[in-house]
């Protein structure tokens, strides 16, 4: 499933740490903690996990490194999956299904949209994408080129135009051209920029106004897998502004990190839905927690 699975390196590391170790000592705990931190797991989650591990070892008198490892897996898995199966992208009962894609600068929004449009198109759908990033230099051209490459219509805004107006046009176009899906690209924005977050809320309102007050079927926050602790703030602020429904973890083809998503799932309840593994149209995978967990434990 994953070219380089999330946490694969982590668990390989844990394996190395526990094999052939006669006893569970402070050094093992320390190294486990470092392995977790090294995967960018949130530092407070890490501390909590380590506390639970220590308690388990003490209370249940765990003697074997393998047992400790199993415990660690159980905890991380339950935090990530929390009972649910895969959470596929929501589809509107009435076309068009609308996806709004948001995130900080340069994380991979536009590329993810191209990949997703490509996937939906191959599944037999008519897809329209809206180039509502009217701010960044050549952002519209970038999506337009992707549209040509994958054979998908692009509704363009002029550079400097009001992004809400582009979204409005795109909503109209999606209906009149009988599209199954409309995917909206937005400009990258840092979550601490109040005016830019307001602009995003406005885009969201335009979407809702056109759909009897229903928000986009999915509001996807794209996170860069190499991001560290800041990803939590990003998720919190975007969730507060436009109520994100799912995460996309892009650039997971770099060395496997992205541990921060466990905290985001655990604390904010936002599931990962898609994973980006490269720059080609086919480099997008649907995130399936159970398959993911298997990959996680692959020896």
């Amino acid at each position: 499933m994953f070219k380089r699975g999330l946490f694969k390196t982590l668990f390989q590391k844990v394996d190395q740490l526990v094999t052939g170790r006669g006893r569970i000592d402070e050094e093992l705990f320390e190294e486990l903690e470092e392995a977790l931190i090294g995967s960018d797991l949130n530092i407070h989650t890490t501390i909590r996990v380590m506390e639970e591990l220590r308690n388990a070892v003490r209370d249940e008198r765990l003697k074997d490194g393998q047992d400790v490892k199993e415990r660690l897996k159980t905890f991380l898995t339950s935090a990530l999956v929390s009972g649910e199966g895969a959470s596929p992208l929501a589809v509107s009962p009435q076309a068009p299904t609308v996806y709004l894609v948001v995130g900080v600068n340069g994380v991979g929004k536009t590329t993810t949209i191209a990949k997703l449009a490509y996937k939906l198109k191959r599944e037999g759908n008519k897809v329209i994408v809206a180039a509502a990033d009217t701010f960044r230099a050549a952002a519209v051209d970038q999506l337009a080129l992707w549209g040509e490459r994958i054979g998908v219509d692009v509704v363009k805004g002029r550079e400097g135009a009001d992004p809400s107006a582009v979204v409005f046009d795109a909503m109209q176009a999606a209906v009149s051209r009988k599209a199954d899906y409309l995917i909206i690209d937005t400009a990258g924005r840092l979550h601490n920029k109040v005016n830019l977050m307001e602009e995003l809320k406005k885009i969201n309102r335009i979407v809702m106004r056109d759909r009897n007050n229903r928000p986009a079927d999915e509001t996807l926050l794209v996170l860069d897998a190499t991001t560290g602790q800041n990803a939590v703030n990003q998720a919190k602020e975007f969730k507060a502004a436009v109520n994100i429904t799912g995460l996309v973890l892009a650039k997971l083809d770099g060395t496997a990190r992205g541990g921060i998503v466990i905290t985001i799932k655990d604390e904010l309840g936002v599931p990962i839905k898609l994973v980006g593994t490269g720059e080609k149209p086919e480099d997008l995978e649907v995130f399936d927690p159970s398959a993911f967990v298997e990959a996680l434990f692959e020896e």
Binding site: V104, A138, Q142, H191, T226, G228, E279
Partner: protein
Amino acid sequence: MFESLTDKLQGVFKRLRGKSSLSEQDVNDAMREVRLVLLEADVNFKVVKDFTARVRERAVGEQILEGLNAPQQVVKIVSEELTALLGGEQAPLTFSHQSPTVIMLCGLQGAGKTTHAGKLAAMLRKQGRNPMLVAGDIYRPAAIKQLEVVGEQVKTPVFTMGDQTDPAEIAKAAVDKAQRYGNDVVIVDTAGRLQIDEALMDELRRVKAAVRPHEILLVVDAMTGQEAVNVAKGFNDALEIDGVILTKLDGDARGGAALSVKTVVGKPIKFVGVGEKMDALEIFYPDRMVSRILGMGDVMTLIERA
């Protein structure tokens, strides 16, 4: 609410009011808090380990200075050591005696290379130079157009040969043209790439061999996590970089990546990016970065307020 390091240390040191020097136990307790603060800021865990070990060594037995209490003394030592690590001196750009000076930008996807090529051009123009931008990213859709738009914004010519020519060849031709047209600085934009992508890293080596840049700058996103050390090491091993541009510092990331990068490759951070606009480029100040990493306003005023 965010608890500052001084507050945290205040708690740790409650019991040792009025002490005149720091015992080993005091310092160990304090270092636990310091470690946490640094990890929260995304400083690499190995870097943190070495750092706290060094500070511990220095701090144990140290006399508490007049006017300071124990927490302040620790914060002072920590911030001094961090500042020293990040490089006390300002590191300016190197210019060639013989025109043109060649600057090459490299880094991961989406770090901010193209934007910062433009910002550098704007800054150099303000200094009275006559730069040229070079479109060396032949892969990303509309990368060339993006640089052209940026070039227009900063009134700087953009050299391109389309997306079918090898970037090393493009860079070479650009330098030739700059020589003829009197552009005294050539700024080469390159495609984003992973440091583990051998083919693309090799392309950068060829660009370097073709134009022998005077400055190879690694562009690093301030939000980068633990991976920052591998990124820095990968690019430095391949290219022997000269410095770093730390971008997106207008966000609320604490930017511990700065410390990781500096420690691992020993190259100075020269500039920081603080926005999407073309004038959002600043010179790097180590002490400001230290305050940021520690999550404190201005460390020194905090200490002085005592």
